[in-house]
Structures are given as C-alpha cells and as structure tokens.
C-alpha cells in the first residue's frame, strides 16, 4: 500500500482521502515530538545551565556535570546500579531459562505452573516492595519465623544492613521478573525446529548435550531480547527501591533514578537532576537504538 492507492483527480473528497492517513497520524506525532523530543532537548539544555529551584537559561558549561561526578551519592548510585543490574540480568536470565526448559518437558500441569511463575509480573513494584519489606523484616519476618522453627541462631537482617540491603532489592526484583523471562524462553523453545533434535536423539546423544549444543544456541535472539528488556528495566528501577528501602539505610541503596528524583523534587537542584537524567538516557539509548535498528531492519531481508 502506498500513496498511489487513491486514483487521481476526483475533487475535494479524493484529496481529503489522500491526506486523511497523515492527518490521523499527526496528533500522535505532535504529542511525541513535543513531550518526548522537545522535553529531552529542554532537560539536556538545563543540564548545562545554572538552574536550581527554578530553570535558568544562561549557559554554565559543564558546571552541573562536574558537580554530578563529584557527588558522593552519585558514585554510590552508579555502583549500586552496576551491582543490581548485573545480578538482576544474570539471575533472571538463567533462572528464566532453567524454568522454561523444565516446563518444556511435557509437564502435566504446565498451564497452572506457568500462571504461578508469572503472576508477580502483574503486581505493582510498590506492592512487591511492601510485601518483601515485611517478608524480610528482621524483627518479625523470615528471621523470627526460622528461629521459631528451631534454628535459633538464624539471622537475616540484610534489609537494614547497608552493605547487604541492595541484595534484598535484587531478590525481590528477580522474584518479580523471572516469570516473564521464562515465558519468553518458553515461546522460543516452542519455535525451535525439531529436525536436528530428532537426528541427535537417533544418534543417542544425551538430553543435556542436546540442550547445550543444539537448543540453547538457537535461542540467541531470545537471550538478546531478554537482556535488553532486563537492562532497560534495571536502569529505570525506582518504585521497588522506594517501596523497599527508600534508598536507605542512609544512601546505601540509592540508584540513579532515586538520585534524580531527590535532586529534582526534594533538594531543588534542577541542574544536577537534569544532568543525571541525561546520563541515564544516554546509557539506555546506547543499548536500545542498535537493538531497535536491527529489529526494524529485519523484515526487509
């Protein structure tokens, strides 16, 4: 289908039909141009200004950026997002793949199990954070329950330990997202061509070898999608940390998203907040644009 669809020259109605598609598309384009690209430009400019509580449009060069990189909290936030992101991506991918392979063995109650693994995805991060905060509560939660069951020296106070708190967030985040990754891998497994597997089975290859040599290599596109989705979720993570630890104890679980929010809305440091947001966008863009480009180009070949 293309512009040639409408036969030429039947007056105003034809011309309207010719323009109608673009007219219908235009409100969305205007909204996106203004609220996405216009806002990106505005925030980027603000990161090079002296803005504090109110925006100020005089050029200040790299002042806010050097303040950002000099900030102790920003250092913690970057460190945390590395630790969190890496553990989150690796755990979700491996656990998701494992569950998908186990579920792919002609399991009787597959539908029910899939539903159980997936339901956390439907919950808000705030609900998840509230639940896990209670679950891991050192005074009354898991710790006390295990102690009551007889293991009296058991101790689990990661939630209030500033060295360990970030790992509790990883646990809750992995609990929430693994089911979704499992579903992606399961769809991938169901799409694999069976001929090579049958041939290997006839040759008497053991199942683990078939998975390692034939099936998992064929899941490469799913691995790529899973990692992109998870990395993107990790960098944007904000809700779960606010609900579970509030960025604390102290600043121990600060991440770029919570850093940006607190500088923007509590500390009234618009310039630094803008610089940190631009940094986040740059990291995600470096990740997403090549991925989208390869995804969009594919149909042509």
């Amino acid at each position: 289908m293309s512009d040639t669809a409408a036969p030429p020259g039947k007056g105003a109605r034809e011309r309207l039909q010719r323009w109608l598609p673009k007219l219908v598309l235009s409100p969305s384009c205007v909204l996106i141009l203004f609220f996405v690209y216009g806002f990106i430009a505005w925030t980027s400019y603000i990161s090079f200004s002296n803005s504090g509580m109110l925006p100020e449009y005089t050029w200040a060069g790299l002042r806010q950026w050097s303040r950002l990189w000099g900030s102790w909290t920003w250092g913690i936030a970057l460190h945390n997002i590395w630790v969190f992101g890496l553990l989150y991506i690796v755990s979700c991918t491996l656990l998701g793949l494992l569950l998908a392979i186990l579920l792919d063995q002609r399991i009787r109650a597959e539908g029910a199990l899939r539903t159980v693994y997936l339901y956390p995805m439907a919950l808000s991060f705030i609900v998840t954070g509230t639940a896990w905060q209670w679950f891991l509560n050192p005074g009354l939660g898991l710790e006390k329950t295990v102690q009551a069951l007889g293991w009296e020296s058991f101790s689990f106070n990661w939630l209030i330990d500033s060295n360990m708190a970030i790992y509790t967030v990883v646990i809750a985040a992995v609990w929430q997202a693994t089911g979704f990754i499992m579903a992606m891998f399961l769809a991938g497994l169901r799409g694999i061509d069976g001929e090579m597997i049958k041939a290997a089975q006839i040759d008497g290859a053991p199942a683990w070898k078939i998975y390692l040599r034939i099936i998992i290599p064929q899941l490469r596109p799913v691995f790529l999608s899973a990692v992109v989705v998870l990395a993107h979720l990790a960098i944007k993570s904000f809700d779960l940390i606010v609900a579970m630890t509030g960025g604390g104890p102290g600043n121990a679980t600060a991440v770029p998203a919570t850093f940006m929010y607190s500088y923007a809305f509590s500390r009234n440091e618009m310039g630094i907040a803008a610089a940190s947001a631009v940094f986040m966008l740059a990291v995600i863009a470096a990740l997403i644009i090549p991925y989208l480009y390869s995804e969009l180009r594919e149909p042509r070949s």
Binding site: M1, P21, I40, I215
Partner: protein, 291 residues
C-alpha cells in the same frame, strides 16, 4: 520442541525430581502472596508473636476495613478508597485514548504507508524506552502551566502521551501481518479510510486489543513515578497512597493494615491477569519474540 523422549512421560525417578523442582519454585513464588494474605487477616497481637507462615488463629477482617476506610495517609484518615477511585479515574480514559490512537497509528503505518514511515515509527517506538526521569522536570512545569498539576486529568494526559509508543507498536506489528489484499479490494469497492478501518480491520483486531488493554491497564494502574511526581495530594493514585501509608507512618507499624492495603492495590491487576493472562501472553509472544 522439547528434547524429552516419548518414554519420558512415564514416572521415572528423574521425572519425580523434575516435578519436585517445579513445585519447589511454585511454592517459592506463591509464598510472598500467601504471607501477605494471611498477615492481612491476623490481629496485630498475633503478628507480634512471630511465625509469619502460620495461618491466622483468629481470622479478622478489621485490617481490610481499616485499610479501605479509616487508615491514616498523611493527615487524612479515610483509608485508601479515595485513591483507589482516583486510579480508576486515571486508568479508564488513559487506556481507551492511548489504545485508540495506537490503533489508528498502526493502521496508517502499515496500510497507508508514506515516505519516511519507518523513521516516524522509529521515533514513536523510541519513546517507549526512554527513562522517564528525562521528562519529569519539563512535564512538571508544563502541567503547572496547563493548570493540571496535582490532578487526575494531568496524569491521564501523561499516561496517554507515554503510552502511545507501546500501543502503536502492538497494533503496527499486528496489522503488518493483516493481508493487504483485503484492504485493496475494499478500496476498489470505494470504501474510504475510516470505513476500511472500522469495517475490516477493527473486527479482526480482538487479540491485539486484549493485549493492548491488559498492557496499558497494568502499566497505568501500577505506575508510581508519575503519580508521586505530579499528583502527590488528594488526587494521588493508589500506588502513591500505599507507599505513603507503609513508609511514612509513625508509631507502631500496623503490618496487617499495610498488607490489606497492598492487596487492595494488587487485586485489580491480579484479576485481569488471571482472567485474561493467557490471551495476553499468546498475543505478546507472537509479536515480540521472533525465532
């Protein structure tokens, strides 16, 4: 395609182990929900005695009543019910309008292609992935200028704008595999732009409408960042109210009330997921994962 041999259907020790592992993970996944539910029906005295995993000795619905109607959030002690209705007021128009725009966009981008349609789609698609921190500051100012700050209408606008990307993606991928011949035949019969859309494409779009509605509903209902940034007062959505209830209360923490409130926030999306999750996954996977 599974590597399991036909013989694997019988119950061998290996099969038992397989089921044991799967059940272990199922219990692990259900445990937090179980603890939330049982805690929400316990009295505070019973909670303080410990053993989170036990069923309530004495079932009580008081925490639910308190969470819904009388728990204190900030200075106001009228529970989460008002915020629950705020969320409904935000979700319904946001889902409908962003869905409709996405459907039209997908239709134009596949059946009425013009030069540069790929670039337009790419620009719309990228908006799905931006970290929203990049738009928080200017959006707060624009909502202020439009007199939409701290209002549910403001949040509706925000969710429509940043929902268009995903709804367009869903409908575009779906309509891309819709046969062009049907559209061309209708054109030859003299059908126009809207007629073709409403008579031919829309009736065939039920699967993708289900995906879009579920996706947008969960995203908007579960949103916290926009809610806390642009509507923190009376017009806050349920997620913001829940966080305020749980994390800013002073004195003795009423864990049972917190869990009941969390359940109230979780129930709508859980229901949607349980009723329609199957269709959602089927539709989503056919569109988003290749190979």
């Amino acid at each position: 395609m599974s590597a399991a041999t036909p013989a694997a259907r019988r119950f061998t020790p290996a099969r038992m182990l397989l089921y044991a592992i799967l059940l272990f993970f199922a219990v692990l996944y259900l445990l937090p929900l179980y603890v939330m539910l049982t805690t929400s029906f316990k009295t505070l005295a019973e909670i303080q005695q410990g053993n989170m995993l036990a069923l309530p000795r004495e079932w009580t619905a008081a925490p639910w009543r308190e969470a819904w109607g009388s728990a204190c959030i900030g200075l106001e002690c009228s529970g989460v019910k008002g915020y629950f209705f705020n969320s409904i007021q935000i979700v319904v128009p946001a889902v409908l309008i962003s869905g409709l725009l996405g459907a039209f966009n997908g239709y134009v981008l596949t059946k009425w292609r013009f030069r540069g349609h790929k670039i337009v789609f790419g620009l719309i698609l990228f908006s799905c992935f931006i970290p929203f921190q990049i738009i928080l500051l200017p959006m707060a100012r624009v909502l202020g200028i439009l007199h939409l700050a701290n209002s549910t209408s403001g949040l509706v606008l925000v969710h429509i704008v940043y929902g268009i990307g995903f709804t367009t993606l869903f409908f575009r991928n779906f309509y891309a595999s819709f046969p062009d011949e049907l559209v061309r035949a209708a054109q030859l019969d003299g059908a126009g732009f809207f007629r073709i859309f409403f008579r031919i494409l829309l009736p065939a779009s039920v699967p993708i409408i289900v995906v879009t509605v579920i996706w947008q509903f969960t995203n908007v209902w579960n949103d916290f960042l926009f809610g806390v940034s642009f509507a923190s007062g009376d017009s806050a959505p349920i997620t913001v109210a829940l966080n305020n209830l749980v994390n800013s209360s002073t004195g003795v923490k009423a864990y049972n009330v917190n869990m009941a409130a969390a359940m109230v926030a979780a129930v709508p999306t859980l229901i949607v997921y349980i009723l329609a999750g199957k269709y959602f996954l089927r539709g989503l996977m056919s569109g988003s994962v290749k190979g």
